[in-house]
């Protein structure tokens, strides 16, 4: 015990946590910079061609397979928003404003964030498990041994695919939230809400609402795939390690998504976007 009365092990523990976190962030930063270099090379040098086939496979795996779940979840988000937001508006006779609220909340935040959370469970976990299994079965080492760079052949297509598909899925998600809200108004709430629902939403929304949402979606997509690749590639200790990596991927992704969303919102707010 030191004089301040803080047990030394607590300080040590906190210090160790900070160090691991910094180490992890550093590792991901390196991974991201190497990935960026390969993408740059693929675009600007004729020799290092893009693996279009690999990219397509990954886009299908990330996007097409999760589109159903994303749509389903987002419809329910729309339903929830409509049901929760209408009662507080009633005393003011502004039930119709629910469509404006759903529009802003959905397009700016809930569309991208919920899509990203679903994808971190869907794509993130499966990428981490896949790469982790490849580490365990010596496939990554084998790739290096035959002079193929694992970052170029495995990480680059996964990050690009997740980046693109998070954005595309968010577009779907935005509309699903709006549809969920509309269906609820129609079936449960009443004509004050649904008459002119789409017109009001259209009047409320600016392009920047839509675009800032998609920018965030892109950031989330990179974060999810980066975390998944990083955790997957540093798996040790067999099948158990693969399990740990998938759990970590999902947890870290969700934390990272929320923090990134907060930072993005602050920036958009500061620049009045």
């Amino acid at each position: 015990m030191d004089r301040a009365g803080i047990p030394i092990y607590l300080v040590r523990w906190a210090g160790a946590q900070v160090l691991t976190a910094l180490g992890r962030i550093g590792g991901m930063a390196i991974l991201l910079s190497v990935t960026a270099r390969w993408v740059y090379k693929a675009i600007f040098t004729p020799k290092a061609r893009f693996d279009v086939e690999g990219l397509t496979v990954q886009m299908v795996r990330v996007g097409v397979k999760s589109v159903g779940v994303v749509a389903l979840v987002q419809i329910f988000i729309g339903v929830i928003l409509a049901l929760q937001m209408t009662p507080p508006l009633e005393p003011f006779g502004q039930e119709g404003m629910v469509s404006n609220i759903i529009g802003v909340a959905g397009f700016r935040m809930l569309g991208p964030i919920i899509t990203a959370v679903v994808l971190s469970g869907f794509a993130g976990a499966s990428i981490a498990a896949e790469l982790g299994t490849m580490v365990v079965s010596e496939e990554i080492e084998a790739m290096e041994a035959i002079a193929l760079n694992p970052i170029r052949y495995l990480v680059v297509p996964r990050i690009l695919a997740t980046f693109v598909m998070t954005i595309l899925l968010t577009i779907v998600a935005d509309w699903m939230i709006a549809v969920g809200g509309w269906v609820t108004s129609r079936l449960v709430l009443g004509p004050e809400s649904y008459v002119g629902y789409w017109v009001r939403m259209r009047e409320q929304l600016r392009y920047r609402d839509f675009v800032t949402g998609l920018i965030q979606a892109g950031v989330f997509g990179i974060l999810i795939s980066l975390i998944a690749c990083h955790e997957g590639l540093k798996v040790t200790g067999g099948a158990e390690g693969v399990g740990r990596a998938t759990t970590k991927t999902v947890v870290y992704s969700i934390v990272a998504i929320v923090i990134a969303a907060c930072i993005c919102t602050m920036i958009f707010y500061a620049f009045e976007l």
Binding site: T133, M134, S137, E138, E139, E141, A142, M143, E144, A145, I146, A147, L148, N149
Partner: protein, 288 residues
């Protein structure tokens, strides 16, 4: 010319040269000053028990691990200081068979073998197809060309891994525990392949194993690794003499002898007993 290199010539320049290699993980020293030369056309077998550092040594020789001290030279190039591009140029000149075969599970056997050819040569598809068939025939796996790795047995995976390792006609082949997990017949088949590749094509082989039958079958020279130190490097005959001879009383020789014979009594087991069991257990009981 290459013609004259039927028998390994000691005066030749080594193709692999490991000098004073030290590797530590945290505070644990896994390789403690290992020095080893491998000459063109010979088969060098590195033996040792679990955790002796032989896999770590292999990983340094293929450039997938960086040592704390010392150097690893392949074809005269120091792997430690090479850039990634230079290292990749060296990697195209050797092949490695991993313990599990390490096939890419998302590709067929044929695609696995074709991958290095597709990525690193300008050959047309038809030529690559022929080469894939030739490599698979060599390992006796031509009928498996369109199968997925999940559909074939462990022994077949290993043979397919070997076919991929020799895709670019390497000058050196590394084998990590080639007979681990195989039945005796399959294991002997793999050994025969190793010998054919060395004998007929002049490939230099480095084999890491703890299977003594296999080691004595294929080795020209052998090295015994223990606790990160290279105890002895000698021609196979010398190790055979130790194995078949009587205990000498010399600790190192007896240790090697116990390992080669797989005896349950000897210096290796004695060492395990000298770990202060008595003090340890008395301390648990509240000190002496």
């Amino acid at each position: 010319m290459v013609e004259t290199q039927e028998q390994p010539v000691r005066t030749a320049t080594p193709v692999i040269s490991v000098v004073d290699l030290v590797k530590r993980f945290d505070s644990k020293t896994v390789l403690d000053g290992v020095t080893l030369d491998v000459f063109p056309g010979e088969t060098m077998v590195i033996m040792g028990g679990s955790g002796c550092g032989k896999s770590t040594l292999l990983r340094h020789m293929i450039g997938s691990m960086q040592p704390n001290e010392g150097s690893v030279r392949l074809f005269g190039e120091d792997l430690v200081v090479l850039s990634e591009d230079q290292l990749n140029a060296v990697r195209k000149r050797f092949g490695i068979l991993f313990q599990s075969g390490a096939l890419f599970n998302s590709m067929t056997v044929g695609e696995n073998v074709a991958l290095p050819l597709n990525e690193h040569t300008d050959l047309d598809e038809a030529t690559i197809d022929i080469m894939v068939r030739i490599k698979l025939e060599l390992v006796g796996l031509r009928e498996a060309v369109d199968l997925m790795p999940a559909e074939i047995s462990g022994g077949m995976k290993k043979r397919a891994g070997l076919a991929r390792a020799i895709a670019l006609d390497p000058e050196i082949l590394f084998y990590d525990e080639p007979s681990a997990g195989l039945d005796p017949v399959t294991s002997a088949e793999i050994d025969q392949l190793i010998m054919d590749l060395t004998g007929k094509l002049g490939v230099t082989s480095v084999v890491v194993t703890h299977e003594m039958d296999s080691a004595f079958r294929i080795a020209d020279r052998m090295g015994m690794l223990d606790k990160g130190r290279m105890l002895k490097i000698a021609p196979r005959a010398e190790f055979e003499a130790i194995r078949d001879g009587e205990a000498t009383g010399d600790e190192m020789t007896d240790l090697i002898r116990q390992f080669l014979r797989g005896d349950s009594e000897g210096p290796i087991t004695d060492r395990r007993r000298e770990t202060g069991y008595e003090e340890d257990i008395l301390e648990m009981a509240g000190g002496p």
